[in-house]
Symmetry: C2
Subunit: 323 residues, 2 copies
């Protein structure tokens, strides 16, 4: 019977991730029962990946299992929260043991890396889609929000920008001067959530967001929600060699500015905290770049290396879209 | 652009339900930030409803909004937890304002009834499906689990059984001696989670489950996970007039035994607690029936009104399926 088949799948997912002491009851009852540490807030985020919308049919299930958890852990990172638990709603057209083994392997490896336990969820038949909710802990005073940026803050980003968008461009055959290799493809297929960087920032930064819609849009969210603007020097944007090659060849800055799916952190911090952030990021093994400053005026200006400035509203994304 | 359109939908859902003081940060940032009361466990449950699997295409969105939350609140009820927050992952083929207005109305009304705030989620384009996670609070000692039943416990159920399955049978034209009316249809389309009953049971019962797969299967889960069996008198099963009419006319007990989607609670309690439970259920305005007793032997016996017994394993569902 179909429903028992899917119940079996649920069993298959029990015991994924780290066995945590704060899980009083995990998978297998009406509810999971969980213990949030005293004095900590619960930070939660939920994201859905739908076949043919967020990933192509035939995507390696191991990469999908990784990515479904990674994009959610990235939200915890942007809040400065310590990851703890995940729930998984998996909708599948049929029960395919190889697919399930691959998916759970990708999910499990990332869960174990961050001490996350899968504590519940639902498995149903239907068009392929994956919804994950993550749960983490953060002290109220340390929680990073989008609305905390202050004029005078420096603007920082982790890692490098535009890599995932470059992969997409090459796959869509919109750019043929470069071939995909494993390192490049991973930027799109296996994003690494910046959990450690988020924890460094939690006690030192004023505001943060994860870059899932592109730097312009996401820094725009920080500015809009904080009631500020800013100035960013494109010359300071951290680019991989591949993305720099694309920008140099085409003069097109849309990959690092509008490219989604990088899952780096963009944040703002008072100048006197920047050195401590640099030390923390070095210890976390995370590349850090200072790309601009927060300003009182609500405009967001992007200074071109040639000296000219693109002026965007705080919702910079629409501006760049419209060009 | 498609993605902004779906971002707008997310905005549309902000502020749904009761505004709660324990929500430090709701919709609109990377994470929601939530405060679990000291000394309480967090109880969570997640369920997905997929079009053409759990509901028909063209289902009234208001009923769907209600049901998506109701089936999850039912899990909190079965745990004896007080509902607090919900997250919603909504996947839609297109953005249809009428549909969204209806869906949010159904969701909102039930959320407000139980003091639940919608604190996060995701809205994406794709085949219609709804995943909801609910979050509630319960003291560790009061949490109702499936594994707490003890020999000698009496077995109780709330409300009446088989109503949703009867609606399905009539809709599927498998039974024509009865017409659907509003009251009957609501059993299927608008289940009422037994939250108040669950709170009564939390301090008085040993074990509980919500009846989503039918009494036989779900009481079977309690027995299997508690390592016990039991005896149930079919004559004591609470049936609506409509379901009783069906059973009398056909001699078929499958609706109250195997019918899913009733979302009543099945529970076990020590005999000395039964009177207090009766008082509490009366105060909660909830019908209560004692239908059997828990026994040491792992068999689950269903005593037919004629005197014969159907013997099932603890996983009684498969037994009934196989007949």
């Amino acid at each position: 019977m179909a429903s028992s088949e899917f119940e079996l799948i649920a069993t298959y997912f029990s015991g994924i991730g780290t066995a945590r002491k704060d899980v009083h009851l995990g998978i297998g009852d009406d509810c999971a029962l969980l213990q949030v540490p005293p004095g900590q807030l619960l930070a939660i985020s939920m994201d859905t990946l739908v076949e043919e919308v967020h990933f192509l049919a035939g995507t390696d299930p191991e990469l999908l299992g990784h990515k479904a958890l990674a994009v959610n852990l990235s939200d915890l990172a942007a809040t400065g929260a310590v990851p703890a638990w995940a729930t998984l709603a998996l909708t599948l057209p049929q029960s395919d043991p190889d697919w399930l083994a691959g998916f759970s392997r990708g999910f499990r490896r990332l869960a174990e890396r961050y001490g996350v336990q899968l504590v519940g969820g639902d498995t149903t038949r239907g068009p392929l889609s994956v919804t994950v909710q993550v749960h983490g802990f953060v002290e109220a005073d340390n929680a990073l929000r989008r609305d905390g940026a202050r004029p005078g803050d420096r603007i920082g980003v982790t890692g490098s920008l535009g890599g995932a968008a470059l992969v997409l461009k090459i796959r869509n055959k919109e750019y043929s001067a470069m071939r995909l290799n494993t390192d490049l493809s991973r930027r799109m297929d296996q994003p690494q959530p910046r959990v450690e960087a988020g924890l460094v920032l939690s006690t030192l930064a004023h505001a943060a967001i994860d870059i899932s819609d592109g730097l312009a849009a996401d820094l725009g969210h920080i500015c809009a929600q904080s009631g500020v603007g800013g100035r960013v020097a494109l010359a300071e944007l951290p680019l991989s060699d591949a993305v720099r090659g694309y920008v140099d060849a085409t003069g097109d800055w849309s990959l690092p500015l509008e490219g989604g799916d990088d899952y780096e952190l963009c944040f703002t911090a008072a100048p006197e905290r920047c050195e401590a952030i640099e030390v923390g990021m070095r210890q976390a093994g995370c590349r850090l770049s200072w790309i601009g400053v927060v300003e009182q005026s609500p405009e967001l200006r992007w200074i071109h290396p040639s000296g000219g400035a693109l002026v965007g509203s705080a919702g910079g994304y629409d501006h760049f879209q419209a060009r």
